[in-house]
């Protein structure tokens, strides 16, 4: 691991934008393209928003941890909550699946994370929180 950072913040929706910016600022050290940065912001936003919406119910004082690790050109982003967890991860990953259709959720969050990164891993169990790990190689277009 060449470089890393970790941030912990409460599950307030205003921190969605903060998490995107912090991740982009860290990723910028790896010389990414504009499109890669944009993809990364979207993927991180999905993971943090899920923690805020799904993990903790209406508790806004519960904490979310965002960790970024750089290894060569590869960035690994981990978003961790200690909330309700996911019983059926395969079902949750399915495009258009949402447990909250009444709130106009489209159920596309995990599908977007998958499409906007190179790999997506979800570790979760009911009552034990959720950890989302995404990896993305940056600076591809620049060829170094």
């Amino acid at each position: 691991m060449d470089n890393w950072m970790e941030l912990t913040f409460p599950s307030l929706s205003i921190n969605e934008g903060f998490a995107r910016s912090a991740t982009a600022a860290f990723a910028a050290l790896l010389d990414p393209t504009i499109d890669e940065l944009s993809d990364l912001r979207t993927a991180v936003s999905e993971a943090v928003t899920n923690a805020i919406i799904h993990a903790y119910g209406n508790d806004r004082s519960a904490m979310i941890t965002l960790r970024c690790e750089a290894e060569g050109k590869k960035l690994r982003v981990t978003v961790k909550d200690t909330g309700c967890g996911i019983a059926d991860i395969e079902l949750a990953r399915r495009p258009f699946y949402t447990s909250k259709p009444e709130l106009e959720r489209s159920g596309m969050g995990f599908a977007v994370m998958e499409a906007f990164t190179d790999s997506l891993e979800i570790e979760s169990a009911p009552g034990e929180g959720t950890t989302v790990i995404m990896e993305k190689e940056l600076g591809r277009a620049s060829g170094n």
């Binding site: 205003i14 969605e16 499109d35």
Partner: protein, 101 residues
């Protein structure tokens, strides 16, 4: 979210300026639905050229407004999508039900 609206007959043109995420979704939804309370509105165009960021929460807002309009026989057009927004719309099949310009 900043919202600029202009209406001509049954057509409502709305330009959104800002970031459309879960944090801004409720406010954006409320502002759009206030405009849609005018039942003479049949054709809504949402101009996204001022939206610098959108994720699936924003997608939910767009699809929700589509539902409201289609229930009254109207329809929705989106325009000004960035590459990232276009990618989300394409992967979720939005263009099968919403027009793009």
């Amino acid at each position: 979210m900043e919202i600029n609206a202009s209406k001509r007959g049954p057509r409502l043109h709305v330009k959104l300026v800002g970031e459309l995420d879960h944090h801004s979704a409720e406010q954006t939804r409320n502002m759009l639905d206030t405009l849609l309370k005018d039942i003479t509105v049949r054709d809504l165009t949402i101009d996204l050229s001022g939206v610098s960021f959108m994720d699936s929460a924003g997608l939910g807002v767009i699809l929700g407004r589509y539902r409201i309009l289609s229930m009254r026989g109207g329809h929705l057009t989106v325009t000004g999508m960035s590459g990232a927004i276009d990618k989300i719309f394409r992967m979720s099949g939005v263009y099968a039900i919403v027009d793009r310009v």
